[in-house]
Structure formats: C-alpha cells, structure tokens
Symmetry: C2
Subunit: 302 residues, 2 copies
C-alpha cells in the first residue's frame, strides 16, 4: 500500500544539552517520509518557500518518495526554533514562523487521490480534513495533533477525529484532550470519538496503545547517545504506518509489531540532529534494532 502524508517541511533551529543545529532540515512530513520510506512508497503534501534547497530532499527520491505534491511558493519556508533540557521529554518553543505555511491549502495531485494509507501530521485540524476529503477511499487514516489545536480548535479537532482510525499523541495531550487525569479513562473516552486505536507516545518511557483488542505497552530502548528528540514522534508514526502499509495486515498482533517498529525508528531519529541518522540508515540496522527491542522486553510465563 502507498502512503500519503500531509505536514510540514521546515527549517529547525534546535539546542539541546548535547549540541545545536541551525536552520537544519526538519518538519513533520520530512521526518515521517524519511522513516516510512524504508517500508513503503510515500507521497508528500507540503509547501516550501523560494529559500528551500530542494537538493536536501534528494535522498528521499532514492527511496521512492513522491514529492510532486510538495509546492514551492513565493516567500520563506516554515521555521521552528526550540530548546530541550536534560530530560529531553519536552521542547520549549522559542520561535515559530509559519511563513508560506500560513496560507497553505493543498490541492492533491491526481495520482495522490488513490492512496490507501494517510498520515495527517500535526497541523490545523481543518487543514487535515481538507486533505482527507481529497483522498478517494482511504483504508487507514492516522493523525497527530498537539496542545495548541486541542485548546485552540477543539470542535474542528473532534470533527477530524471522526474520520481517523489511529490517533498518535503524547500522555499530556491524551489527558488534555479527554479532560481526564487518569490515562485509562482518558483513552477509553477518546476511543468513543472515532479512533479505534490510540497510540500514546511517552518519549524515553516508550509507548502505550489502547484499542478494543486490548492494551499494549512498548518499551523505549535505553540509549547512551541521545542528541536531539526533534521529530521523534513523526519518525515513530513513519515506522508504525510504514510497517502496516508494507505488511497490509491490520490485525492486533501486527499493530503491536508496528508500534515496536515506530519505537525503533524513533530510537534512530534521536541519535543525531536533524535527519542525519535517518538519511544514512539501512534496513538491516532496522531489523537488528527490532530484535534488540524484543530482547529488551521479553520475559517468560510463571
């Protein structure tokens, strides 16, 4: 199955206790596509300004990433600037410049309308729906969102959620969205709003997924070298959906494998600034790390 992603392609300026990157390649669609493209063909819907060096995305083309839906418009590319402390679990946003993203209303290339798997990255929920309505008959729709939309556009977000099968957000967002401090009760509430599966990303603490089929707890690999958590959530979504698209199997056991594959891709993403690690990654490294996750989490019956 082929995947469609709508999200940002951006310049990130990031500082962590382990270094910094200035105006480096970033954006949710970029991280997602870099990750998902190891598993399935990806079509990108996004916008960049005249200042964007398209050559920076050449490595994606080599992995069958279709960039015909990447618009180039007059003006400057989206820019984000943030900082992380030692715990690396939460970014402090220092500056956001939407630039060409502010007026973005994507028209999907005709070929994109046939895509079966869709990832609506963390953008305005109205925009997420604008894209989704242009897809003819999606089999699996997954979405991300954040506190900014949960608080700022709650009705639009609830409307989008009606059309989403998998919602991928973090703990704090789950509690905020459901307005319920207990995670189990919060998850149960959100599962009545549209999504059949809720994947809760918890950074260095792993991921939890909730669905009618049960709960699944995936560990995070303890890493000796974490440099920059930016994009980890989108790399996770890329591994998760890429794996599901490539295996065409939406059963519970395969969803669990997909959550692990998401965790695998996130674990690589944080090992370097920007997309460097995902750019130079190989599939055998991915398989080896999946086995590391298995060894990490395995225990025997009594």
């Amino acid at each position: 199955m082929q995947i469609l992603v709508v999200g940002s392609v951006a310049f990130d300026t990031v500082k962590t206790p382990f270094g910094e990157a200035k105006e480096a390649l970033g954006g949710s669609a970029t991280y997602f596509a870099s990750s998902a493209s190891f598993f399935a063909p990806v079509s990108v819907v996004a916008v960049v300004g005249e200042d964007f060096p398209l050559d920076d995305l050449e490595y994606l083309k080599a992995r069958e990433v279709d960039l015909s839906g990447l618009e180039r418009r007059p003006g400057r590319t989206f820019r984000w600037q943030g900082e992380y402390g030692f715990d690396l679990n939460e970014a402090k946003t220092l500056d956001t410049q939407l630039n060409v993203f502010a007026e973005f209303h994507p028209r999907l290339p005709e070929s994109y309308r046939e895509r079966e798997v869709v990832f609506l990255a963390n953008i305005d929920p109205d925009l997420q729906r604008e894209v989704l309505t242009q897809v003819l008959s999606p089999r699996l729709v997954a979405a991300d969102t954040m506190n900014f939309w949960i608080q700022g556009k709650p009705e639009a977000l609830r409307e989008t959620l009606k059309h989403v099968q998998v919602l991928l957000i973090n703990d704090a967002e789950v509690r905020m969205l459901a307005q319920e401090p207990n995670l189990v009760r919060a998850a149960r509430k959100i599962l009545t709003w549209g999504p059949r599966t809720l994947v809760i990303k918890r950074g260095e603490y792993g991921a939890l997924s909730f669905s009618d089929g049960g709960w699944f707890a995936a560990p995070a690999l303890p890493l000796e070298n974490v440099h920059d958590p930016t994009g980890a959530g989108d790399a996770f979504a890329g591994g998760f959906l890429g794996f599901l698209a490539s295996t065409r199997n939406f059963e519970e056991a395969n969803f669990r494998r997909a959550v692990i594959m998401g965790s695998v891709m996130a674990s690589f993403a944080v090992e370097s600034f920007s997309l460097r690690r995902l750019e130079h990654l190989t599939y055998p490294e991915i398989e080896a790390r999946y086995r590391q996750f298995k060894a990490l989490a395995h225990f025997e019956d009594l």
Copy 2:
C-alpha cells in the same frame, strides 16, 4: 529461602487527589513484608513505640512473617506525612518524625542470623551495614536508598553498596547517585561499585533493570484506580525478592520474572490507601495479574 528485612514500621498520613488517610499503618518493612510474604517466610527487623497497636500486624503472622525482631521501645512510633499531586510520581514530604527510630541500633535475634536473602530498606546506610554484618552468610542482598542519603551520606552509602547485589532505586536517584544525566551511562557506573543488578523503578512507566546479562524493560499496568502510591517501591521489592527466594533461581530469565512480580505487587499496593489491598490479596489474584502483564507486553518477532 527465608528473607530478612530491616526498615520502618510507621504511621503514615497521606493525601492524594483521590482521598486521604490519617495515621494509617505504613513503613518500608511493613509494605515489604506484606508483599514478600505471599512468596516466602519473612523476618522483620524494626522498631515501634508504645503507641503502636501490634494487633494491626496480626495478618502478617498468618502469612509466616516472623516479628520477633520487631522491638517495642518507650516513646512514639515513626511518623511520616506526605502529599501527592495528579501525576502521583513524586511525594511531597510535609513532616517526618523519626521518634523511636532515631536511636535504633538493631540486635538481630539469633535465629535471624541464618537468613539467606536480605532486604535493606531505605534507612541510614550505616544502619544498613550494621544489620548486614550480623547476617552469617547471605546469598542475596538487595537495598533501597533515596536522595536524602545519596546527598547526605555518600561515603557510607558507597561502602554499603560494596556488599549489595541488587540496588533498587528510581530514575532520579540513579542519575543523582552516579552524577551522570544519561541513564545508561549512570547504570553502567553504578554496576562497578558493587551491585550486579540495578533495578530502576519508574512508577507508572514501569521498571528497567540493568546487569551484565543485559537490559530488561518491564511495563507498568495502566491502572484505572490508583489511590495512593505510598509503599509501591517496597511492595515492588517484596514481590521481586519474595519471588527469587521462593524459586531459588538467580538466573537472568528468573530475574526478569522477579521484576515483573515486583511490578505486579506494586500495582496492587497503589490501588488502596495504606496496606488494605495487600492485606486482603490472594495468590490467584497475583498469578492472574502476572498474566495480564504478559498480555500487555507481548509482541511477535518480525
């Protein structure tokens, strides 16, 4: 194998967003013994004041807990008062009254000196060693500690650690003890100081164990009803060591089962205030919850 525990028997006054308890039965040795006694005989070393109603510990005697090392001395029993916010991960201590614990220098009953498994709960590291030297030939020594001793008595603690095989502490304490923000590097450092296994308790995020045999990540069960996290760490230690003592198997695969059993017992402990849940628990409930952990964490190879 029989287990020896030295720790506190106390009155706790606790407030959480889900209720409160005043002067309720608590203390590290109490939580530990209540948990470990489902698996193996436990001998308690602790001190209480004249105000302590020994009848409150009757349920422990029914489970082969030996209280002959529980001194009763003139004065008041140890008291702790604390409060938790919604995240329940960290207690805010409001008041600590050591009372009879201040001058505690335990003399072990003769029969206790033969014990093979020892748990040194979170007390002064000098006191931990005082107890340990009275045990003839321990096969497995585990210890807990906290920021107060890590910062206040670092040399005494390092001395105690030389004689400890398993150290059970939380993430923040691992980083503080090793003076290293990265958890993997911190763990590796501590493993050169004596302990062969480091079990890191992470509350609602589960537990991580590090040893030469590898790393193991245990999930926490997402709970719908968490009332009071007090004593969860000691209940964890009780399940962990109780299971190891009862199976007499210290191999890596069995250590992993023991970490899960610790998590199982902690998951029960937090479901009520004080010892209520552990007091009325049954072994079939423990086995059923172990299976729930297995179902929660299981995933297939690629």
